[in-house]
Each structure stands twice: as C-alpha cells, then as structure tokens.
C-alpha cells in the first residue's frame, strides 16, 4: 500500500489544526466550521478507503487466511540508541483499521453536529482547531507502530482533551475540570512511562511488530527477572495498564471523567465517550500478545474492570446531571471492554474460550462508540433545547423533540442490550467470555448489565416522560437544527444494524477470521435481566410517583454514597490538598525559604556582623590610631629586647 493516503490521513487534521489555530481568528465562524468539516470529511473518506483496502482488498491476508499486521511507513523520529528508536509510522492491522473507521466517523459527525450546537459561540474557530488537533492525535495514537509513538499520541490526546474540556475557560468549573483531567491522566501516564521504560529496558525495543509479533522472545528476555515478588513482565504490563486506567477512567483513576463533562457536549461525545477514553482498551488490545503471558496482569485487569463497572453503574443510578449519568455509563461500559480483554487470557500464552473476549471487547468498543456518541449527541440536543444539564429541568420532552426522542430511545435500547440493537450482540459476546472465564465474573457482569438497563431507562423516562414544565415566556423547547439531527439519525441507524456485522471476520485475537455464535442461554439470561430492569425503571419512573423517594428512604446511606460518587472526589481532594499540597509542598517551600535559604542568609549575616564588629575599631579618631601605632611599636621593641636578651 502506498504511504500517500496514510500520510494524508494524519496530515490533513494536523494541517487543519495549524490553519485554524493560526489563522482561525481572521476567518468567519462559518468558514472555519466548514473548513473543519471539509478536512475531517476528506480524512473520513481516506480512512474508509484505507480500511476497505485492508479488510477487503486481499493484500493483507496471510497464508493461513490471517489478517496481517502491516507497517505502511515508518520513519525514524528520534533514535535513543541503535535499537531503541522512536519512529513515526502508520501501522495497519485489524484493530487500527477498525479504530480509523470509528474515530473518523464520530469525529466527522461531531464536526458536523457542532456546526449547529456551537453556533455563535465565542472561540468557534478555536474549537474546530482543537477538534482537528484531537483527531490528529487520536489517529496518531491508533496507527502507532511503536509504543513510544503511542505514548506521544497518548499525551497529545490528553492535551487536546484538556484544551477542549477547558473550552469555556471563563468558567471556574471548566478550568478545574480540565486541570483535574490532565493531572489525573498525567499521573496514570507516569505509570505508562515507567512501564515503557521497564519493557524497553528489558526487551530493547519499542516496536509493536517485535513486541507483539514475537511475544515469546520478549517473554524470554523477561525470564527470571522479578521485582518485589512479582515478575518483571507483570510489573511492566500492570504499569502500562495504569496508563490505560487513567485514560479509560478505571477505578481509582476515574474521577476526571464525570468532571470532564464541563466541556461542550459534542466534545464529550467524541473524546469522552467514543474515542479517547477507549484508548486504554486499545492499548491493552494492542499489547494483548504480551498480556497473554502474564496471568497476574490480566487478572488485575479483570478485577479492576469488574469493580469499576459495578461502581460506575451504581453511581449512575443516582445522578441528576444527564451528562454525568452518561459519563458513568461510559466508565461502566469501558470497564466491560476491559473485563472482556482480561477474560480472554488464561496466562502462559494461552487464550480462554478461543479468545472470544478479545473480539467481544473490540466489538463492544465499536458498537459502544456509536450508541454512546448517539446518546451524548442526543443529550447535547436536549441541553441545546433547555439550556440545562439537569433532568429536573427537562421532563416530558418527547412531544417537543420527536427525533431526539426516538434516537435517544434507540441508544438506550442498544446500551441496555435489547435485540436487535447493536449493544445486545457485543455485550452478549462479552458475557459469554466472562462466563467461560469464571462464573462469578459472569454473574457479576450480568448484574452490572441489569443496572445499566435500569439507569438508562430511568434517565430516559425522566427526560422524556413525566409531566412537562410550564412553558414560560415562549421558551418552548425546540427540536435541534438539521446539522445536529443528521448525526443523530445516522448514529441511530448504525446502532440498529451494527450488531449484524460479522465482527469476528474482521477482528480476532490471532487475526484469523472467526464466526460469531450467539450463545442463546447466556443471551436469554442477559435479555431477561435487561427487560426486568427496564420494567422496574418503567414502574418507578414512567410517571411521577413516590416509589423512588421510598427507595431512597429505604436505603438512605446507599443513595447518599451513590449520589456523592462514593466520596472519591472528596478523598482525592483530601489527598491532593491536605496531604500533597499542605503536607508536602508547603513544608518543602517553607524548608527552602527558611532552612536552605536561611543558612545562606545566616552566612551573610554572620559576615556582616563580623565586619561591623571589626569596623568599630576604625573609630576615625587619629589619636586612637596613634595609640594603636605606639602600642604596636612598643610591642615590636619589646620583642626586639626579648630577642636581644635571649
């Protein structure tokens, strides 16, 4: 494959960023917006071409029918040593092609959607510039040929996420949310970096082709190396996973994601639902051949994922800000993907249940991107209509916004796992993989799936049903403009049909095509649970009734903890402010000012004092000097006498 198109895929968004960033202020809003859309549209077309060529072109199928990993181009960017080289390249394989499609699709839709949603906002051009920067960084991340390129993309998406969350920079909450997002993910990136250091130090390579193409050789390089009772490989992989935990908002590094909803809603759809937050999943999937060799690491992933999934689902049940509900739902769904990846491994290089989890995870990543983007964009349309994030301000909007209503419902059904919507298929594969790995995890995840259906329909009813508010001064909620509706309808359509894609043919852990078989027992259980959950939600929230209040009264503590997100934010505040800020930074600053600097000043003071003391001898009185002179002369004479006498 010629490198022209791949280079263009990366270059166009970067160019758009520079163009809009440097000259955007001179352009009109319309021009900037359409330029952004045009750039992203071109990228979309090119990415689709590339993905099509990859999956259907036939050039990338190996002798056994497996899909090949192909490095389209790879240029040295920075050579540390002969072996440790950071290259900038473009790697095409089944998951990166998939991600190309997902990223460009969602990104283009968001570009389009923003034309309507962001209309008239101050800094419209800047917004498009940042979107382009984000698209570039995310594409750079997914097509990385080596782990350091991925890290670079990783940092860049973090920065663009920072800029976009803080888009409304005059708002305190947005500024602190962006800061929080950046710092938390930075902390996670530290783990990632250390993981890279350990990994590259041992294997002497950054290259994915070498790391994942030949995992046994790398595992041999790690053989026998342990650190604090755990093998070094496990350490490296867990550290790398830490990076993924940060970006993908796993417990306990999830706290930034709900706050990140301060950003404009399309941004939440793009970055904090569909693309960037699944980077952690992508990372683990990318390194999957290595993760297969460390059962400890994959177990760690499963445990973290399972806890996060449950936690986020619980919390989502008690939020009133619709974007936060969606954010927690995102956390929970990403945790699903993580668990799925974890349960695909059985350690020692063996996969569990034909590596179904890997495929399922990628499948869910794909479907989730679509329906979660749909939900977020729907939420955006609602917010656009009522100018508030709280469902308390909404109620009964189905009459005013029919399109949004239907598409949102489709999204809810998809995420709840009701056939034939896409979520059903992907989630079912995950369930099958979980049950195959360990029944406990299977049951656990089923419960989480039930919770998911419950909170989504709670949200749905609270927004669209109930009795509408009185309309004041003609502020009638209105349906969104066309540029916003097109993405909604498109994504809804995709969410309806995406489940029927034979996904196993495109993505599997060993790149061999694989046929998906629905396990009807598990599917039946899942659907039943989902339906029951929806029914409960319907009973409780279909109309305004005292049931929710009763439930709340029944378990006040639980509700409180869920409402306050289990006080994680408070804990973090305590750690950062009380311990790190007041316990470390301030004492250090004090120490520096008073001890270190004090020592220096004390030396100066002593010198000064001493010189003042000596200066007193120079009284300026001539007669005094004469006396001193005389005494000196006498002493000298005395010495002379002594010398003569002795």
């Amino acid at each position: 494959m010629s490198p022209t198109i791949p280079i263009l895929i990366l270059a166009i968004p970067l160019f758009m960023f520079l163009l809009l960033g440097l000259l955007g202020m001179k352009m009109s809003h319309k021009l900037a917006g359409w330029l952004g859309c045009l750039g992203m549209g071109t990228t979309l077309v090119l990415a689709y071409c590339t993905a099509y060529t990859y999956y259907f072109g036939g050039d990338f199928v190996g002798a056994n029918g497996e899909r090949l990993m192909s490095v389209v181009f790879n240029e040295t960017w920075l050579a540390f040593t002969d072996k440790l080289v950071i290259s900038m390249g473009f790697m095409l394989d089944s998951i990166s092609a998939l991600m190309l499609v997902v990223i460009t699709t969602i990104s283009f839709l968001v570009h389009l959607y923003s034309l309507g949603y962001m209309e008239g906002e101050k800094g419209f051009q800047r917004y498009y510039a940042f979107l382009s920067l984000f698209s570039f960084s995310m594409l750079l991340l997914v097509v990385a040929t080596n782990i350091f390129q991925m890290y670079i993309g990783w940092e860049l998406v973090g920065a663009s996420s920072y800029l976009l969350i803080g888009f409304y920079y005059t708002k305190h909450s947005a500024v602190s949310a962006s800061k929080k997002a950046f710092i938390v993910t930075r902390f996670a990136d530290l783990g990632f970096l250390l993981g890279i250091l350990v990994l590259s130090f041992t294997t002497q390579t950054f290259d994915f082709a070498e790391l994942c193409g030949n995992p046994t050789a790398q595992v041999t390089a790690f053989a026998g190396k342990t650190f604090m009772g755990c093998s070094l490989l496990t350490w490296a992989l867990i550290l790398i996973f830490t990076g993924g935990m940060g970006k993908s908002a796993m417990m306990p590094l999830h706290i930034w994601l709900p706050d990140a909803m301060e950003g404009p809603t399309p941004v939440s759809a793009l970055i904090h639902a569909a693309t960037m937050v699944v980077a952690g999943v992508y990372l683990v999937a990318r390194m999957f051949p290595l993760y297969l060799w460390s059962f400890d690491a994959t177990t760690f992933i499963v445990v973290v994922g399972a806890i996060t999934a449950f936690y986020a689902a619980m919390v989502a049940c008690a939020q009133i800000d619709i974007k936060r509900v969606l954010a927690f739902s995102t956390i929970s769904q990403i945790a699903f993907m993580m668990v799925a990846l974890g349960v695909a491994s059985e350690g020692e290089g063996q996969v569990c249940h034909h590596g179904l989890g890997y495929m399922a995870s990628m499948f869910h990543m794909f479907t989730h991107a679509m329906f979660k983007a749909l939900l977020f964009l729907g939420a955006g349309a609602l917010i656009h209509a009522v100018h508030s994030n709280d469902y308390t301000a909404m109620h009964g909007l189905r009459k005013f916004m029919p399109v949004t209503h239907i598409t949102f419902l489709i999204g809810c059904l998809a995420i709840a796992g009701i056939p034939p919507f896409s979520g059903f298929f992907s989630k079912d594969e995950i369930m099958a993989a979980c049950y195959a790995w360990h029944p406990v995890i299977g049951v656990w995840m089923s419960v989480v799936a039930g919770l998911t259906a419950f909170y989504m329909f709670r949200l749905y009813y609270l927004i669209f049903w109930w009795k509408e508010h009185k309309i004041e001064h003609g502020h009638k909620p209105h349906e969104a403009p066309l540029p916003m509706l097109i993405p909604l309808v498109f994504l809804a359509a995709v969410s309806c049909v995406a489940g029927f894609i034979p996904f196993g043919h495109f993505v599997s852990w060993n790149h061999l095509p694989y046929d998906i078989h629905l396990d009807w027992t598990i599917a039946g259980i899942s659907v039943t649970i989902a339906v029951v959950a929806i029914v409960i939600a319907t009973v409780m929230y279909r109309k305004e009734n005292p049931l929710p209040a009763k439930m709340k009264a029944l378990l006040p503590a639980l509700w409180d903890w869920c409402y306050h997100r289990f006080y994680w934010d408070e804990l973090y505040m305590f750690i950062t402010h009380k311990i790190i800020f007041n316990g470390i930074c301030r004492p250090i600053a004090w120490f520096d000012r008073h001890i270190i600097d004090g020592t220096m000043d004390a030396m100066a003071t002593i010198t000064n004092k001493a010189s003042v003391a000596i200066r007193g001898l120079q009284s300026g009185q001539v007669q005094m000097y004469v006396w001193v002179y005389l005494i000196g002369a006498l002493l000298l004479c005395g010495l002379g006498v002594m010398a003569v006498i002795l």
């Binding site: 050579a79 540390f80 440790l84 860049l156 005059t170 530290l190 250091l197």
Partner: protein
Amino acid sequence: MLFSNPLIYFVVIPLLMLAGLSLCKNIKQIRAVAVIGSIGLLALSTVLLVKYLAMPPINGDHQMAWEGSWQWFPQLNICLSVGVDGISLAMLLLSSIIVFAGSFASWTINQPKEFFLWLILLSTGVFGFFISTDLFTMFMFYEVALIPMYLLIGVWGSGRKEYSAMKLTLMLMGGSAFLMLGLIGIYYNSSVDGQHTWNLLEIARNHAITPEWQRLLFPLTFVGFGVLGAMFPFHTWSPDGHASAPTAVSMLHAGVLMKLGGYGCFRVAIYLMPEAAHELGWIFLVLTGISVVYGAFSACVQTDLKYINAYSSVSHCGLVLFAILMYNQTAMTGAIMQMLSHGLMTALFFALIGMIYGRTHTRDIREMGGMMQIMPYLSVCYVIAGMASLGLPGLSGFVAEMTIFVGSFAHTDTFHRVFVIIACCSIVITAVYILRVVGKLLFGPVHNEHHRQLTDATWWERLSTATLIICVAAIGCFPNFFANLIKPTFVEEIFKVFQYNS
C-alpha cells in the same frame, strides 16, 4: 591567524557591539546596534552549524572543529584556545537565539545604553565560555558573564533587587571560588612530565590526574559549576535572583547562564575526572535527584510567577545534572537536549512573565486572572510554554525528558534506576504547577477589572516570543537532527567513561 578563526568572532562581535553602543546617541541607534549585533551572532552560529554538519566525519565521529590556540600568558601556559564540537555549537546557537530574543524583549527598557552595555558584556562572557577549550580562559569568561549580572539586577531589577543581586552574585562567586581551586588543582595535575597545561583536550588526552586527586578535585569542580546549575542545596540564588531580574536578564540567565553550569560539569568535571565521577557520582545523583523533585514541589505553592518558574528551573536543571551523572550516551544526549530545551522554554517563560508584569505591575497569580480574554496572544504563548515545560510531545521538553529517562533507566545499577523513577515523578508535579498557574492566571473570569484596559503584545514582543516558540517546536518536531548534532561528538569521550561503568 587569530582573526581567520571564525570562532573568535563570537567574542569580537559583542565587543564591536559594545564599541558601537558607546557611540550611540538615542534609543533608535541602540536598538539598531543590539538587533544588528544579535542577528550577526545568530547568523554566525547558524553558518557554523551548517558548515560543521557538512564536515566529513573522521572515523565516523565529528571532531572538534576550528581549533586554534594563542598564548597570552606564557609563564602559566595560559592560552586563548578555541574549538567547538556539536555540543558547544548547540549551546552557541541557543545563546545567540536568546540574545536575539532578549534584545527584543528589552525594547523599552530604561537607560537602554547602559543596560545593553552590560547585557552584551554578559553575552561576551557566555560566548567566550562556550568557544574556549582552555580552562583558564574558560574561567575568565565565566567570571565575565557573572559580574554584569549584579549591576543588571541591582539597577534594572524590581522588588528586593539589591538583596537579590547581592545574593546571586555572592553565591555564584562562592561557587567560582570552589571552581577556581578545582581548576588550579587540575592544572597542576594536568600532565605526567611536569609540562602543565590548561587545555581541556590535552588534559583529557594525558589523563594524568590520579584518582586520589580526582576525588578531591571532582567535588570542587562539580559543586563550583553545580551552583550555577542550581543544584540543591545551592539553588536559592535562583528564585530571588530571577524574581528581581529584568526580563532580558532573566531570559539570558536562566536560558544560557544556568547552562554554563551543566556544560561545565559535563566538559570539565565528568570529562576530565571520570574515575571520581564514577566513584562519587552517587552523592551528586542524590542531590540532583532531590533538586528535580524538590524544585517541582516547591513550585507548586509559589504565588509569584517568577518564583514558580525559577523553582521549575531548579527542577529542570536538576534533570540536566542528573542525566550527566548517569554517564551513558543516551542520557548525556538527553542532558544536552534538556539544556537546549530548558534554555529556550524558560527564556520564553521569563519573556512572557516580563511582558505580563510590564502591563499588570504584579506577578502575584492571586491578583490576576482571565488574562486569556485580555491578552490572548501572550496567554496562548504562555500555554505553549507551559505545555513545553510539562513535556507535551511536539515541543522540546518531551524529547529531552524522554531521552534522559530512557537513557538513565539503561543504567545497570538498581540504585540509579530507583532515582530515575523518582525523577520521573517530576513530570506529574510539573503538570500540577503548570496547570495551576495556567488555570489561575489565564483562565477563569477576569480578576481585576482594571486589567481589561491592558493591551496585547506589541510587534517586538511578538517577534521575541515567536522566535523562541518556533525553536521550541523545531526541537520538539525534529529531535533527531539535534540528537545527531549532539551525539556523535562525544561517543569517543564517553567510551572512556564507559569502561568504568561496566
């Protein structure tokens, strides 16, 4: 011939500028002299860089180029010896860029004639230092660079300027007292046959300093240069000094002068005394490791913009010395890259802080806010500088830090690697204090309504900052060019050290 050596012009041009300045009558002429001179220096260093890269490497390595030596005090073998390799060239380029940007940053200074006289004298010292290969001449230029700082801060500074100027000068002088001892010690141990020499390259070739002497002289030289490199616990001149210094002086001081410390540690302490560096390196590793984290933590709670940046410099410069002490090629390349990177971005920071201070007349972040709405250009530049500082890929900080970390982690000793992990933590803390400042200073609502009347950057300020940003981005986007420029020249030098490493 003296004047046929192009390196001499790094000293001659500033001297000509001094002469030109003394003839100037008004501010226009002064600006013209400063701008023309700094463009001349910039052009000279660029041309030399291009020529250097075009030179055919000998045995696969680039050698010292344009070597020359003229005796000026025969009784003590003191020569004006010059010669550059990739590292010194990179430093010269850095210095000329910062002098160029600094001239524009001090476009409207009071008493411009005197100011530029001292500033250019200072840069004479800096350039002289980087081209010298004779220890004594090097030391002489080092002193030339230090002294004008006192007046520049004392006269044109702000805040507690007398105190800061005195403190800075005295501490650096204290450092150079150590250094002087160390250098004299090196001189008297420089050769086996009693023919002492000050020439760096000869001393390295002779390799005659016995390990016992090295153990004595290495700490002296390392601390001597380390004071200028803001090594813990000799860093306290930096916050006060930078806080009081005028913009261009802060830029030049943090951007170039602090690099003299790192460069000296590398060129003199490590290069000439590898055995002692290997033996005693751990002490300084601990100190520099502390600098890295300590500076970052201190920066988190400062409220004065310049203090924040000064502590951040302590942290970043600590990383330079830290990497030097790892004595392996990648880490040392990283150290030099970090010098370049830190030089540029800290100069950018100080330039911006100076410009903001010039408008708001306060540097306290608690008294400012929402600058993004008032002066968007400066604010965007500040964000870029901040991003460079916290190591965003595509800007210089990232490549330098990563090179250091990857290189340092390759050290075989666990003790060293544990310290690398500790140093890595600084990237998080850096993010904390940078974002704290950016959040408080630039974002949020406008804190003081009077600030709404303030204007955005003027053309000279734009030129000054844009130059620096372009350089920061250039290093960040094409790091391999710089890495190769720096790297080959000290492969052979390092190999000597390597023997002690394995």
